[in-house]
C-alpha cells in the first residue's frame, strides 16, 4: 500500500495567508506544490500532519483544502485526505478543514446544476 506522508512543518513553520500575492507560505502554494503534487502520484493514502507549526489562519486552511475541490480534485479524494489528517495539538483543525471541503463540494455541485 502506497502512502504519502506530508508534514506541513516541512513546508513552513509559519503557514501564511490565502494567496501568495498576500504573503509567503500561502495556502495556495501549499495546495499546488504539496497537496496536488502528492495527489498526482495517485497513492492509496495521503496523510497530512498539521502539528508542529506556529498556528493556522482559516484562510490558509480554506485555500489549501477547499481549493482542492475548486482545482477539480474528486470529492472522495479530498474528503479522504481530511479524514486522514493528523492534528494532535488542535483537533478542531480537522473539523474546520472537513467543513471547507464540504462547502466547496456543495458550491461545485450547485454550479454544475445551474450550468
Amino acid at each position: 500500500m502506497t502512502t504519502i506522508n506530508v508534514n506541513v512543518v516541512d513546508f513552513s513553520e509559519f503557514p501564511g495567508p490565502r494567496y501568495e500575492q498576500h504573503g509567503p507560505n500561502s495556502g495556495e502554494r501549499f495546495r499546488r506544490e504539496v497537496l496536488l503534487e502528492a495527489i498526482s502520484k495517485k497513492p492509496e493514502k495521503i496523510i497530512v500532519n498539521l502539528d508542529g507549526v506556529l498556528g493556522y489562519g482559516s484562510s490558509f486552511l480554506e485555500e489549501a483544502f477547499g481549493g482542492l475541490i475548486r482545482d477539480g480534485v474528486q470529492s472522495e479524494v479530498a474528503l479522504e485526505i481530511a479524514n486522514n489528517l493528523i492534528s494532535e495539538i488542535d483537533p478542531s483543525l480537522k473539523i474546520e478543514i472537513t467543513e471547507y471541503i464540504k462547502e466547496a463540494i456543495e458550491h461545485r455541485n450547485k454550479n454544475a446544476r445551474n450550468s
Binding site: 493556522y56 489562519g57 484562510s59 495539538i89 488542535d90
Partner: protein
C-alpha cells in the same frame, strides 16, 4: 488435677492482651487517618490543578478575544495576523491541557468557529469594521459559547 491459674497472673495476661489489641487498633486508626488525609490532599491538589488550568484557559480566551476585536475594529490596531494566530494557538494548547486534566472531549467545533470568525480572510478584508458587524457578532458569540462550556465550570466537589 489441672492447676488453678493464679488470679494475679491471669489479670496480668489479660492486661497484656488488652494492651496488644488496643495497640493494634491504634495503629489501624492511625493508618486510616493517614490514608484519608493523603486522599484528601490528592483531591485538593487535583482540584487546584483543574482550577489553575481553567483560569489559564479563560485568561487566554479573553486575550484572544481582545486582540481579535482590536485587530478588526481599531483604526490603527497594534496587533497583526501573527499576534492573533499565536494567541489562538496558545488558547488551543491550554484547552487541550484542560481537556486532558478533566478527561473531557476537546471542544473542536467551538474552537473551529472561534478561529474561523477571527482569521478567515483576515489578510484581504477591509478594516476597521463596525463593532456591530456580523463578524464581530460571530466572534463574540463563539467566545461566549466556549466560555459557557461545562469544561470551564469550577465546582467544589471535583
Amino acid at each position: 488435677m489441672p492447676e488453678t491459674p493464679n488470679p494475679e497472673e491471669l489479670i496480668k495476661w489479660v492486661g497484656w492482651l488488652l494492651s496488644l489489641v488496643l495497640g493494634l487498633i491504634g495503629i489501624g486508626v492511625t493508618f486510616s487517618v493517614l490514608y484519608i488525609r493523603i486522599r484528601h490532599a490528592e483531591k485538593l491538589a487535583q482540584r487546584k490543578e483543574r482550577h489553575d488550568a481553567i483560569d489559564n484557559a479563560l485568561r487566554l480566551l479573553t486575550d484572544f478575544e481582545d486582540k481579535s476585536l482590536d485587530y478588526w475594529t481599531a483604526k490603527d490596531s497594534k496587533y497583526t495576523k501573527a499576534h492573533i494566530i499565536t494567541a489562538q494557538q496558545r488558547l488551543s494548547f491550554s484547552i487541550k491541557q484542560l481537556s486532558r486534566i478533566t478527561a473531557s472531549n476537546f471542544p473542536d467545533k467551538e474552537m473551529a468557529e472561534i478561529r474561523k470568525s477571527a482569521t478567515l480572510d483576515m489578510e484581504t478584508k477591509r478594516r476597521p469594521i463596525s463593532a456591530n458587524s456580523e463578524r464581530i457578532l460571530r466572534l463574540s458569540i463563539s467566545t461566549s459559547k466556549m466560555q459557557n462550556l461545562s469544561l470551564f465550570a469550577k465546582n467544589g466537589k471535583s
